[in-house]
């Protein structure tokens, strides 16, 4: 992995130290700022693949910081990390220009998966692909056709959306909450492993009749779609 650069703006020293260490271990180049103004200066210099911004920061509030960056056309993807986890707070954060929102306390695997999804996002304005391919699996977004090794696989609309999202993020871990957010557009905690059941249905359709499984469960984190043949 070519080293991705990540900026962490977090005033709590323990939390910041933990994040810096964990992201370095995950192979990122990490910079840290302990307040809003310092974070803004670093972010302005640019070049970061993702910025993780705490909502409540000394000197400059997290949302104000994002607003200031966006006003200067700095489009670095921003993940807001906040102790305010209610639906309202999330809506406010995303309206302020954040790209994703994660409430504390969080599982690091969740944060990492979301940061990776943000970091490798297609740059804004790039043309959208109409067909996703991964190994012998192909998904046509226009005709809604899915084939594996040339064989057509019939999917329900929701299964199609699920596979589409997994293919968009092929090779990356996607968590259950990410799936719920992007495929169903809900952010709540569904209490039961409803997502798992949907994934296993999809898996039955795309993997069962083939030798190499592509849809993998990543323990303690979520799922990953990758080309098993390689």
């Amino acid at each position: 992995m070519s080293s991705m650069r990540i900026l962490i703006i977090e005033d709590d020293r323990d939390a910041a130290a933990y994040l810096v260490k964990a992201f370095r271990e995950a192979g990122y180049a990490v910079d840290h700022a302990a307040d809003g103004v310092g974070g803004y200066d670093l972010a302005q210099e640019g070049g970061y693949d993702v910025a993780i911004v705490d909502r409540m920061l000394p000197k400059m509030d997290g949302l104000a910081l994002i607003g200031a960056l966006r006003a200067q056309n700095i489009e670095t993807p921003v993940l807001i990390l906040s102790a305010l986890g209610q639906v309202d707070d999330r809506v406010k954060g995303l309206r302020a220009g954040g790209d994703d929102y994660l409430a504390k306390p969080y599982a690091f695997s969740e944060l990492l998966a979301r940061v990776e999804a943000l970091a490798r996002r297609r740059p804004k304005g790039a043309p959208e692909e109409t067909t996703y391919r991964l190994g012998d699996l192909a998904l046509d977004r226009l005709s809604h056709k899915v084939t594996r090794a040339g064989e057509e696989i019939a999917l329900q609309p929701r299964e199609f959306r699920l596979l589409e999202y997994l293919m968009q993020n092929a090779g990356k871990v996607v968590t259950r909450t990410m799936l719920l957010e992007h495929v169903w557009d809900y952010h709540f905690d569904p209490q039961t492993n409803v997502i798992d059941v949907h994934v296993s249905r999809l898996r039955a359709k795309i993997d069962r009749d083939f030798d190499a499984p592509m849809l993998h469960t990543v323990r303690g984190a979520g799922y990953m779609l990758r080309d098993g043949a390689r």
Partner: protein, 477 residues
């Protein structure tokens, strides 16, 4: 402040006084107008009499000149209750008549005058007359008039009537004000007493309602409703803190035990790993409980408002049902979904979605058999529906499980309540109370009904633009 001072300061006392004062002024005005009219009538009559007399005398003068005029005046002057006459020569000396004295110069002014005068026989000063004065050829002056004693007497009667009625009014005002003020004050004092008792900690006390349905009663009832709502919220808060104390202690104890157990003895890496994984699992469970409690508390306080928008709740119900459909299948039940589209409500789609998810989750977990086992006879279907009648939207989730006995239904909505038979299943007992709190926040009500067999949860939400949840809707919920 003495009781009397308090009485005089009472708004009711002042108001009563003011009203009676105004009535007194009104009464005086009415009497004044009547008096004025009566006096005017008397004056008019007097003038007419004078005119008639003057006409008669003028005829006499035309026939017999000053001499006959003087004789006639002399004759008429002697009749009792007669008019007033005075005939003078050019030097001003009286020739005939019953008027002895006039202010100087009065006779020089021809026309009608209102003048003091004195009679010849009795000297009762201060008499006034309305008179007409004629100047005759040869410097003779003739005065014809009427005494104004009647008019003065009528005026005096009127003034007396006014004075007497004012005194009565004043007395009545004072008494009325005292009575009203004491009546109102005693009730206000009773209300104050209740308020003090409530402030002192007796939250069950309510303001007294007299039953007369007057404005004080309405005020008392309004305040009582407010007190009831506050008491509800307080009870809710107390319940939450009690629940947190009791129900979080168990998972926290487990958490601590796992950590302690791992530290005790010579555990290997694998054992540490297991212990740490369990610790994370337990803390995730705790976080979930906290989140649910926070959400309930915020929904009950009506704090979640920025996420409000108009959305199709039928679509939400359908999509949430679809989310649970494979899970239901794993439990061996079929989800039958009948969700009409175009059921617009204004609310928080996330929260409504979460509430509906909780209801379906409960139905799947408690209404079906264990996962992987075939469901018991007749438990093979869960019906989820959303329909609207224009004014309201009704969402129903009905299962064919064991249901909830009627006696337990009210309790089932409370936080952390896990009914008999549910304790062996996963969950914290927050799902239904969260759903109920969310629906109440949207002005809706949740009813638990018998699905014969099974449980039917029916939610009624106001369609379209929601009014703020009314106390009535909350009381019904």
């Amino acid at each position: 402040m003495t009781a009397l001072a308090k009485l005089f300061r009472a708004t009711a006392f002042k108001l009563t006084l003011a009203i009676l004062g105004l009535s007194a002024i009104g009464a005086a005005l009415v009497l004044g107008v009547v008096a004025w009219q009566v006096i005017k009538l008397v004056d008019d009559e007097t003038r007419q009499t004078i005119e008639a007399e003057a006409k008669g005398l003028s005829e006499q003068y035309d026939v017999g000149g000053v001499r006959q005029l003087g004789a006639i005046i002399e004759a008429r002057s002697r009749q009792p209750g007669s008019s007033l006459y005075l005939l003078t020569d050019s030097a001003g000396e009286p020739l005939a008549g019953n008027v002895a004295q006039l202010p100087p110069g009065v006779l020089d002014r021809a026309g009608v005058v209102d003048t003091p005068y004195e009679t010849a026989d009795e000297s009762s000063p201060g008499r006034r007359a309305l008179a007409r004065i004629f100047v005759l050829p040869g410097g003779f002056h003739l005065l014809v008039g009427r005494d104004l004693g009647d008019r003065a007497r009528i005026g005096a009667v009127m003034v007396r009537a006014m004075a007497v009625s004012l005194v009565f009014f004043a007395a009545l005002a004072a008494l009325g004000a005292l009575f009203v003020a004491r009546r109102v004050l005693s009730r206000i004092d009773a209300m104050n007493g209740s308020a003090r008792a409530i402030m002192a900690g007796d939250l069950t006390r309510r303001l007294p309602v007299s039953g007369s349905d007057d404005e004080l009663d309405r005020l008392a009832r309004g305040l009582n409703e407010m007190l009831a709502r506050i008491a509800d919220l307080m009870a809710g808060m107390r319940e939450v803190s009690d629940n947190i104390a009791h129900d979080l202690r168990t998972p926290l104890t487990r958490l601590r035990n796992h950590a302690e157990e791992a530290l005790r003895g010579d555990a290997d890496r694998a054992a540490y790993r297991v212990a740490l994984e369990r610790t994370i699992e337990e803390s995730d469970g705790l976080i979930k409980i906290f989140n649910a409690l926070l959400l309930i508390a915020r929904a009950e306080a009506g704090a979640e408002s920025a996420g409000m928008s108009a959305f199709d709740v039928g679509e939400t119900v359908a999509s949430v049902a679809e989310l649970y459909e494979p899970l239901a299948e794993e439990y061996g039940v079929a989800l039958r979904v009948e969700a009409a589209s175009g059921l617009t409500i204004v609310g928080n789609r996330e929260l409504i979605g979460q509430a509906v998810a909780n209801l379906i989750d409960n139905a799947v977990k408690y209404g079906a058999g264990e996962a992987g086992e075939p469901p018991a006879e007749g438990r093979s279907e869960i019906a989820v529906s959303a329909r609207g009648d224009g004014a309201t939207v009704t969402i129903e989730v009905a299962d064919h499980g064991p249901g909830i006995p009627a006696a337990d239904r009210a309790r089932a909505i409370h936080r952390f309540v896990r009914l008999e038979g549910a304790r062996s299943r996963p969950g914290f007992g927050l799902g239904l109370s969260l759903a109920a709190a969310v629906m109440r926040m949207h002005g809706g009500a949740v009813r638990l009904e018998d699905n014969a067999p099974g449980l039917r949860v029916a939610v009624t939400l106001p369609a379209g633009v929601p009014a703020l949840p009314s106390p009535a809707a909350k009381a019904a919920a």
